[in-house]
Amino acid sequence: MNTDVRNAGRTDEALRAPAPADWRTPEEVEAVAWIHAQVAAGRRLPVLEAETVVDLVFAERRWGGRPLIPLVPVQDINGFLAVQAVNVASLAMALAESLQFDDAAVRRVGVAALLHDIGMVKLAPSILSKPDQISPEERAEVVRHPIEGARILLAADASLDLAAVVAYEHHLRMDGSGYPHLAYPRSAHYVSRLVQLCDVFCGLYSPRPYRVAWPLDIILSFLAERAGFEFHPTLTVALASLVQHHVSLHAAAMT
């Protein structure tokens, strides 16, 4: 299947509530942006505040008819990181719930998903917001973000072991490629795979300055093609089921 959708020109909003006319940045995004700013300024990660956001996302998921991916992405890169963090947390928690994780585990997954890209805040803003291809030097900086993220999380709190592992491993692929390089070869943790999948899904589902958002069916095909090589196969199937379930709910609500 052709997955080149850069010119597809449409956004499938089945999983996301449409932005209201008086839309303003939700508190959880602002809170995550504030958390990112704290870390970028070299302060200790505000763990409780991050958990507050996850608790809110968890509570919101119990609010009837809530969208699977709750937030509308923004073009500003800092805003995008915060929105993406909340969206990935929401989707990852939903996927964990569908996989029968208990509530405490779902929230731990949520914290890990929310903070999986925390290492990105250490990157120079010029790299983050660059619309063009990044240089090899800049790429070397970018591929360090899992390490930076793990360091931030390990230093922050003893309860963030899963979050640190996920931050560290979320770019490792099933076939052993990806980054960072592991001195002790091992496969990524199950939750790292889960967050990785949700991260890719949410990323493709969001428009970026250099491309439009991908349609759902193309995203699901893209993930399915890479299941077993790049993504965890059973998680890919579980995510597809979850998404299709929400699409059918959305369709039923529309009719």
Binding site: E27, V29, L48, A59, E60, R62, I147, A158, L162
Partner: protein, 532 residues
């Protein structure tokens, strides 16, 4: 109510403010109001009335402290009060009615920090959700805590969901909110712990227990990641603790061995697991993992010596003891002090092993202890003492004297062997005396005779004659001893060094006339050698 009795007893002291000794009108009214709040009377004050009474005295810290303590007692007692829910509801209403400044004054009131912590914890568990929000906002203000607007907005929305969601989701969210509030309060009210070395030790030595479950990474994975990232933290120490608890020390050591160069985290982990107890566990493990122990020893250095010594003392396995001796010896003379301390142990095998270790570690035998062990009652200990002392130049002669005088073959043998190269003059009398003993072991006689012959000492003559001569004939001439290796050796020695001595000459004459060619050869061969 219990709290009432307690607080009544305090009346007139805590509940005074303003002029010393004169009760504050506002505090007294508030006190009466709070008392009434907990009663079953119909004329209980409303939250608004009570809030107004408390507000009158909001500037008096002591009064606010008293009010806070009251409220805490009320919330605690309400748990066991049949009417507790109603009381908590009234207190919650009071909190929603209190002005922000009054509530802040209550929370800001000086007093024991722990009491304030207990109060906010009780409030987090018991107050209604709206009251909880007011307390959290005021507490943040009272403590000048950064409580950013967005986070406050999240908490507000959580509170809204806790109220508006249908059951059981609302209860679940309320529970989350209370837990969150309690944690926020505790974080705010607990004095910030200085990152002292003591605090660090607590984190390292008594890490929090990790939560088991699907959303918990394997402990080994966390440790591997920490080394790869070169980063530490509470999560790493907790994971390391778990790995070690489950007997994975060897695995951690492997990780550290293959860690990238200059990895501080690996060094710190090695230091952490390089403890006496871990080493002891590894030394007693079955099967024994020498490679793991070696890795641990490299990390621990000399600090491992005491544990190794303990195990050397207690181990019943010969192979383990040999391993321990080798590893301890590698520390060199720096372990002398530790080993000498162990010599106070009265068990012979401990003393023997320690002396052997001192020798192996090339520790100089220059302490007063050595003399004591050269005279030890147990030959096994004396042997090791002799061996050790012989390797120290200043003690060599003394050791040889002791060894050559020893009645035990196991001590004598090494002394004789050491004397082959050089028998010091000081040792000649000892050996000469010993050779005359009836129990002088036959296997050492030839060697001893040869040593004595080379010494050239006058004292040697008697010993040589003792082995070459067997009394005298009826004619008064010396009689040759029965042929034996030592007899021939003694004759040779006499021929080499004492042929001019009268008694020796007579005996040598007899020997030359012997019908036994071997006896003749023993004498003639030497004469030819001397002539040549």
């Amino acid at each position: 109510m219990e709290w009432l009795a307690r607080t009544e007893a305090m009346e007139g002291s805590l509940y005074m403010s303003g002029t010393a000794g004169s009760p504050s009108v506002g505090a007294e009214a508030a006190w009466r109001g709070l008392s009434a709040l907990c009663s079953h009377r119909g004329d209980r004050p409303t939250g608004a009335q009570l809030a107004a009474q408390i507000a009158r005295d909001a500037t008096a810290s002591q009064s606010m402290l008293a009010i806070r303590n009251f409220l805490h007692e009320i919330l605690v007692d309400a748990r066991n009060d049949p009417d507790g829910d109603r009381v908590v509801a009234d207190v919650s209403e009071l909190f929603t009615e209190l002005q922000a400044t009054t509530l802040t004054a209550i929370l800001r009131a000086e007093g024991e920090p722990i009491r304030r912590g207990e109060f906010v914890e009780a409030a987090a568990l018991r107050l209604s959700v709206p009251s909880l929000l007011r307390v959290s906002a005021s507490l943040a203000s009272a403590l000048d805590r950064p409580y950013p607007g967005p986070v406050r907005g999240c908490v507000k929305r959580l509170a809204h969901r806790a109220i508006a969601l249908p059951p059981p989701a609302n209860e679940q969210v309320e529970e989350i909110l209370r837990t969150l509030a309690r944690r926020l309060f505790l974080q705010w009210t607990t004095a910030k712990r200085a990152y002292t070395s003591q605090a660090f030790e607590t984190i390292v030595d008594k890490p929090e227990k990790r939560i088991a479950g699907r959303a918990t990474p394997e402990a080994e994975r966390v440790v591997e990641m920490a080394i790869e990232c070169d980063c530490l933290g509470g999560a790493v120490w907790a994971a390391l603790h778990e790995v070690v608890e489950e007997g994975g020390v060897a695995r951690v050591i492997d990780m550290v061995k293959t860690a990238p160069d200059g990895c501080d985290a690996a060094a710190a982990i090695m230091k952490r697991i390089g403890t006496a107890s871990e080493l002891r566990t590894l030394l007693r493990a079955e099967p024994f993992d020498g490679a793991a122990v070696d890795a641990l020893l490299r990390g621990m250095g000399i600090s491992a010596a005491n544990v190794l010594l303990e195990e050397l003392v207690e181990s019943t396995a010969r192979l383990t003891r040999r391993y321990l001796m080798e590893r301890l010896a590698k520390f060199g003379p720096q372990i002398a002090g530790l080993v000498e301390g162990r010599l106070k142990d009265q068990r012979w095998f401990v003393q023997r092993n320690m002396l052997a270790l001192l020798r192996a570690a090339k520790c100089p035998a220059e302490t007063p202890l050595t003399v004591k062990f050269l005279q030890h009652r147990d030959a096994r200990v004396r042997r090791e003492a002799v061996l050790w002392c012989m390797e120290t130049p200043t003690m060599r002669d003394e050791a040889l004297v002791a060894g050559l005088s020893d009645r035990d073959p196991s001590v004598l043998r090494p002394a004789l062997q050491a004397s082959r190269s050089l028998l010091p003059g000081a040792a000649v009398p000892a050996l000469a005396k010993r050779m005359l003993d009836a129990d002088f072991p036959p296997e050492f006689r030839v060697l001893s005779i040869n040593l004595m012959a080379r010494s050239g000492s006058v004292l040697a003559l008697e010993a040589l004659l003792h082995y070459a001569q067997n009394g005298k004939t009826l004619m008064g001439k010396p009689r040759l001893a029965p042929k034996s290796p030592e007899m021939r050796a003694a004759l040779s020695a006499l021929a080499r060094s004492w042929s001019n001595e009268r008694r020796a000459g007579e005996l040598l004459h007899q020997a030359r006339r012997s019908r036994d060619s071997e006896v003749v050869a023993a004498v003639e061969q030497i004469r030819e050698e001397v002539a040549a």
